[in-house]
């Protein structure tokens, strides 16, 4: 088995529909305004955290070093993590794809005859669409992060990895609560809306047999699962129910606890401009004899789902350095225009454009890496220095070419290949690498500029046509004394 059978096709809009979705999204003035103001807010908050550019650079260099080091020893660290967690009494499970991960979690829940699972924020469980699998097994899965709770209540998915309900106004949430939460009356007070969520969810924390969470960092040497959050729902999910199941991608492991503070510091400051979150929760063991609370069982599900494909290539491995802060989307001019839903992926924005092809295959996702001007804002703010623009270019190449010699093909390798584009670029290269041909071309273009087509594909949607100058620079220079 050469090509890993670990690519899950989620309920994804085909690439051909991506343009349709983005066209609709940019036409939604309300959505545009919501994202613009929210992203401006988050960018300003982040900027205020990093007044000293040199200090930030030193911290980013260290964080990148930690992530690259961890990845360089990934298989060994995963085994070490497994050994240490097991010694601590935490059960470790491995899943190659979403289906396996969901089956493991459903299995644990069924063993405990669970009826309700409360969920802390976990993008990996969004990635596996765990809620559907739980519901199919007759077990309710309830999101408890306020933003996730809101989008779940409205039958939606998160539009941002840190701020799931950022696309909604408080009026929309007020209507949603009044409609869907029994006993809730319409209020636009944010405090009251949060109070409604709090009251509903506290009852559920009490009732649930299973609590699910993600993991921000898994420390191999100590067997510790670290969670970062502000609300306390993560602590509820990992402490109140009898069983805590954590799910994470295999890339989240670090070797030592000392590797965590530099990453934590950049994570929260890059994400929401906070120097730290309300809770930093380090879980190393289930409830011990004599302890009066805490889960009696703790499980960790380690998910691949395409990550080993990214890992297999030295350049694309950098994708796995990500600590999921969301700064790349906050600073992305494309994300700001179209919002998170238009991508149709679990992870939107620049990081989504480079990780989704590994999770879902290039056939479904090849349009995503093209949805960037390569402006570099994402790479500039990335706290672990993922060269996102370079990876976008790489994926554009993989989507339009056969695998490089000596490299295994990616899932969906060459999916965007077209004879026309091959021809266009071959012609372009022939023209621009042959000076005489190029000179003849520009000579003709200037002489026949009156023939410039009035419609020039996407360019003239909002622009007047590009028209060659009456004479090229080189022709005008020919009359001067310039040396050549």
């Amino acid at each position: 088995m050469n090509a890993p059978e670990n690519t899950q096709t989620l309920s994804f809009i085909p690439a051909s529909e991506f343009k349709q979705r983005t066209t609709e999204a940019v036409a939604d003035a309300h959505l545009r305004q919501s994202f613009r103001s929210a992203m401006d807010f988050l960018m300003a908050k982040r900027a205020a955290q990093f007044p000293d550019a040199d200090a930030l650079e030193a911290q980013r260099a260290l964080a990148e070093h930690i992530r690259r080091y961890s990845l360089s020893r990934l298989p060994e660290l995963l085994e070490k993590l497994e050994r240490q967690l097991t010694a601590n009494g935490i059960q470790v499970h491995w899943a190659e794809n979403a289906e396996q991960a969901n089956a493991i979690i459903v299995g644990i829940a069924q063993k405990h005859s669970a009826e309700l699972m409360v969920k802390g924020k976990s993008m990996v469980s969004e990635e596996t669409e765990l809620n559907h699998a739980m519901e199919a097994a007759g077990i309710a899965a309830l999101e408890s992060d306020m933003g996730e709770y809101i989008v779940q209540l409205d039958g939606e998915k998160p539009s941002h990895i840190i701020m799931p309900a950022i696309h909604k106004t408080k009026q929309q949430i007020a209507r949603l609560f009044a409609e869907k939460v029994p006993g809730a009356s319409y209020t636009e007070s944010v405090d009251e809306l949060i109070g409604i969520g709090r009251a509903v969810l506290r009852e559920k924390f009490m009732a649930a047999e299973i609590g699910l969470s993600g993991v921000n960092f898994a420390v191999a040497e100590t067997g510790t699962l670290c969670l970062v959050e502000n609300e306390g729902n993560g602590r509820m999910c990992t402490t109140v129910p009898d069983v805590h199941i954590a799910i994470t991608g295999i890339e989240k492991v670090v070797e030592k606890l000392e590797h965590v503070p530099p990453l934590l510091n950049l994570l929260t400051r890059s994400a929401t401009g906070q120097i730290i979150t309300t809770y930093f929760n380090m879980i190393s063991r289930p409830r011990q004899p004599g302890e009066l609370d805490g889960p009696k069982e703790v499980h960790l599900v380690l998910l691949d789902n395409g990550r080993t494909q990214a890992y297999a290539d030295e350049q694309m491995r950098a994708t796995l350095q990500c600590i999921r802060c969301g700064a790349c989307m906050n600073h992305c001019p494309v994300y700001t225009r179209i919002g998170g839903h238009a991508y149709g992926t679990t992870y939107p924005g620049p990081i989504g454009e480079i990780i989704s092809p590994h999770m879902m295959g290039l056939a479904a996702t090849h349009a995503l890496p093209t949805a960037s001007t390569l402006c570099g804002a994402c790479g500039e703010v990335c706290p672990v220095k993922i060269p996102i623009p370079d990876l976008l270019i790489r994926l554009r190449a993989e989507a339009t070419h056969d695998a490089r010699p000596g490299h295994a093909p990616l899932v969906g390798q060459g999916a965007a290949r077209s004879a026309l584009m091959d021809f266009v670029w071959a012609g372009w290269a022939a023209l621009y690498s042959r000076p005489a041909l190029y000179r003849a071309f520009v000579w003709l273009a200037t002489r026949f500029r009156f023939l410039t087509p009035p419609m020039q594909s996407g360019w003239t949607v909002s622009r007047t046509p590009l028209k060659p100058a009456p004479r090229t620079l080189r022709e005008q220079l020919a009359g001067r004394h310039l040396k050549t």
Partner: protein
């Protein structure tokens, strides 16, 4: 082949890439520390209070002689009718002697009294293992004597913090606990950094407190006699 073996096999089949040497995090922080102005206890306390207040943590300066009485008065002013405490915890005797109304021991597994804990417990009192000035953070280490939910479920969390145990940074706090060291001590079952009451900005990025956990965090900052 199991999922585990397939994943590990694929990872091991990947080209090793450039050799990456282990990062020296302690050296990094030592260098940062050298460049920063030296801090003293008073500056640490001041910064801690400033940052913790920013998170909306309420700071009450107390002494070994008056903290329990201060807590009793706070309970009265805040209308606390039940205060959860650890009857085998380090401060049990002082609390029990303070005449606090509605003192409630956490003395049985949570499974036996979840509804009461959630619906009918106004406040919880815990000790702390230290504080962090840079981030305005408490280091809390729940155990069999002071269980995990005491600092989470009741709407008010009172925490006693020894001002001498405030470190400068999270890294130093982890080192002070012995978790980061050449011979690290084992991590506790659960350890927490707590910076303010529970909060969320998930609705239109408007900050709201008491999302799921405590709505109020009150720090009883223990200073020397005559210092406060």
């Amino acid at each position: 082949m199991s999922a585990r073996d397939s994943i590990l096999r694929r990872l091991r089949a990947a080209p090793p890439g450039q050799l990456v040497l282990p990062p020296d995090v302690p050296a990094f922080y030592a260098a940062v520390r050298e460049q920063a102005p030296a801090t003293d206890r008073a500056a640490r306390i001041e910064l801690f209070c400033e940052r913790m207040s920013f998170w909306r943590g309420e700071i009450v300066r107390v002494t070994p002689g008056n903290w329990a009485e201060t807590l009793r008065v706070l309970c009265v002013t805040k209308g606390v009718n039940s205060l959860l405490y650890g009857p085998r915890g380090p401060h049990a005797a002082t609390l029990e002697a303070a005449g606090i109304k509605g003192l409630k021991p956490y003395d049985r597994p949570v499974d036996e009294w979840k509804p009461e804990l959630f619906r009918d417990t106004d406040a919880g009192f815990t000790s702390t293992r230290g504080g962090i000035a840079e981030t305005g953070t408490l280091v809390v280490w729940p155990d069999d004597k002071e269980p995990r939910l005491m600092s989470l479920v009741p709407p008010i969390h009172f925490a006693l913090l020894d001002a001498n145990a405030i470190c400068d940074t999270p890294f130093e706090a982890m080192s002070a606990q012995g978790w980061i060291s050449d011979k690290p001590v084992a991590m506790p079952s659960n350890a927490l950094f707590i910076s303010g009451p529970s909060k969320t900005a998930d609705i239109q990025i408007t900050l709201a407190y008491g999302a799921h956990g405590p709505k109020e965090l009150v720090i009883l900052l223990l200073l020397g006699e005559g210092e406060s």
